[in-house]
Symmetry: C2
Subunit: 421 residues, 2 copies
């Protein structure tokens, strides 16, 4: 049984590699045509998709998944329509392939052109919502990459159905049907095998909990684009607009606490603390947020809030919990973030341009914000159509990974017979 | 003893990380000033460097290193001067840090700027010539990165001496002295420990034989930029200028056979073979090159040349050996390269523009050449000053890794109070 799964995965990977060679050379028009066909197919097969999704929902209830997880899993007409629109949006985006990134001439007459090209074969291992299946297929095809998908067991039937619908839609297009592959074994053996196939697969993007990502990173012979965690901060300066600060902090924590770009620690300038904290914390508590404060925070607000430990500064709660720390100045805020943060998304609220410039320059994170919520770190919000993942690595891609993140480059060098002395 | 080495390496890595925070914010002028100081120090300490290098040469002779290896190891006035000039050249290059790569405005008013920033701490593990020490220090400092070096045991005294001279030169500059670190233990334990320190080191670049690189790739918890091998091809089309083809092929194979960008397999269009091969192979044989030919090659030139096996198509000889294959057409040449090549450097010799365009587009390699020798794949030849390595990976950097390859980016996002709905 294991052997069969392994053989099947090697076969998928080989087919994907072959398809990627053809796909890399496809016209933009042909790729867009395929995206539109796939979008239409999602609409046409709506009932089938919801029927298959039901199986996952029933299994999920049986397995005791909580309400939030069941909600993430659920597909209704609106959500299928959003998947469809994401494919149509991706079709409208500029094709990154073939872009001339740089061109220069050497003293010996060689002309060197740096050209954007697809990576080749992308492996995506994910636990999350079923829409990831169609979003990732859309982004990979548009950027000229073949893709091998391995979804989580909770969404087994939904992923399989979405995949079948999209694959079938490819049949009447110029895109090779083998460009998209799905591993539908439900255990980790399939993943382990995939991670060995560096001769066929060029990059792996894991999406999900920290455990999954560490498992992938530690077992992969293929380069991995990682997203470990999002310990995001908002720093409220003494130069902040008070109401703006309150709105941004509330949004960053409460609007969707279970996601990676939600705020986990709020930092407040000591001169701002007395003015800002009492009303802000009260608003948070009213919304059901548990506060864990530093000594100064507790002095200002009261001992009825929990005391934060060093561990809290490292914590990605993904929940209605917030760590709060009063800092002496901007420098201390930056230093806190660079020490405890996860290089994901951090924001400053201030009216002082110089202070903002310092914060944006010195905070070492994929996305740094002045006067906006950290919640905007997202492929769709950045205008990338969707995202294959959000990288907290510094290698290859940082932040939301969209079409450009799915490309690499080659040097095309034009000579007139040059040889080296 | 092991414990002491491990503790020392952690200490180096922590210091490098701290220094990298300061270095990332340094002015171009201050970085250039340090590079010039370091260049001057190499000149001033020439005698000391040659004295220390002697120790390595004596140990190398004792250990039975061959002439070519001893030559690579040797430092004379001319070579020290070349190291000095490389630092001065690097000072003259444009500072990549702070470059605005892209700027765009979202419908909600957010302004997103993609800015080039240093990676942080770069670990370089190398076996090769002592000049790598100063080349890499120069490139890393100019691009705002701290660097941890681990050289090979053959160049132990030379590397240590170069490092000491450069570190001492940093003392009278604004650059933190701790920006450059060297691990001088001579076994692999030091490397193993370094590869664990993902909290301090952001990327590892191994330079050397395939064994070293596989060891690093398999043991690293830090992203690795790899260069496995250079199985480079020159394809001589039936549309080639005969003399140009002969010059390029001879240069690509013979000028320096022991390097990664030398040609290992020559492909010839079948309509060109009779005209081209006899004189070309005779010239190669006169230069001491052993030929391993396909059946058609042997039919044309004679059975006195060895028969090439499939293994030969995969081989990186790094020596005066050349595999030769006659192909039906350009498509077969491309397909051979994409099947057996190592995605390093491949060239076509042709006067036909359309054929060249097809070759350059379809061959999947870091550098693809029209009418020039593959030997140009090199940081210096590309105008990058020098190189930290040559990547055959597709992730982050491809081909020669210079200043740009040593950077990543961050998104700086400017809002006016935006929150997410």
């Amino acid at each position: 049984m294991v052997k069969i799964v392994e053989k099947q995965i090697i076969h998928f990977a080989q087919k994907a590699k072959e398809a990627s060679r053809i796909l890399a050379l496809m016209d933009t028009r042909d790729k867009n045509h395929a995206l539109v066909k796939m979008a239409n197919a999602l609409k046409a097969k709506k009932m089938y998709l919801m029927k298959e999704n039901k199986k996952d929902l029933i299994a999920g209830k049986k397995a005791g998944l909580n309400k939030a997880l069941l909600d993430r899993l659920m597909l209704d007409e609106k959500r299928i329509d959003a998947m469809r629109e994401c494919l149509l949006d991706t079709a409208k985006l500029k094709d990154p392939v073939g872009e001339l990134l740089h061109s220069f001439k050497r003293p010996n007459g060689l002309i060197i052109q740096k050209i954007r090209v697809p990576i080749g074969v992308v492996g995506i291992i994910y636990e999350s919502r079923p829409n990831v299946t169609s979003d990732c297929i859309g982004l990979c095809l548009k950027s000229g990459n073949a893709v091998i998908l391995k979804g989580g067991k909770e969404a087994f039937y939904s992923n399989k159905a979405i995949f079948a619908v999209l694959k079938s839609a490819l049949k009447n297009t110029k895109i090779p049907v083998e460009s998209i592959q799905m591993i539908d074994s439900t255990d980790r053996r399939g993943v382990e095998k995939l991670l060995m196939l560096s001769q066929y697969v060029d990059v792996i993007v894991p999406r999900g909990g920290e455990n999954l990502i560490r498992f992938v990173a530690e077992n992969s012979k293929i380069p991995v684009i990682k997203h470990y965690k999002g310990v995001c901060h908002v720093y409220v300066s003494d130069q902040a607009n008070l109401q703006m600060a309150q709105e941004i902090c509330f949004n960053a924590k409460v609007q969707r606490p279970g996601v990676c770009n939600a705020m986990e620690t709020m930092l407040v300038h000591e001169k701002m603390a007395k003015k800002f904290l009492p009303a802000m914390i009260a608003q948070f508590m009213k919304a059901g947020v548990e506060i864990r404060g530093c000594d100064k925070t507790r002095k200002i607000f009261g001992e009825n809030i929990k005391k934060a430990t060093t561990q809290d500064w490292f914590e990605e709660y993904l929940d209605l919990i917030l760590a709060v720390r009063v800092v002496k100045n901007t420098q201390e805020a930056i230093s806190h973030i660079n020490t405890f943060g996860s290089q994901h998304s951090d924001a400053i609220v201030t009216e002082d341009k110089k202070e903002a410039a310092q914060f944006l320059k010195e905070v070492d994170a994929a996305c740094v914000y002045k006067n906006a919520s950290t919640r905007f770190t997202d492929g769709y919000e950045f205008g990338f159509g969707a995202e294959v993942g959000i990288s907290t690595d510094k290698i290859h891609v940082r932040g939301p990974m969209g079409l450009e993140g799915l490309t690499t480059y080659k040097y095309q060098v034009y000579g007139q017979g040059q040889i080296r002395n």
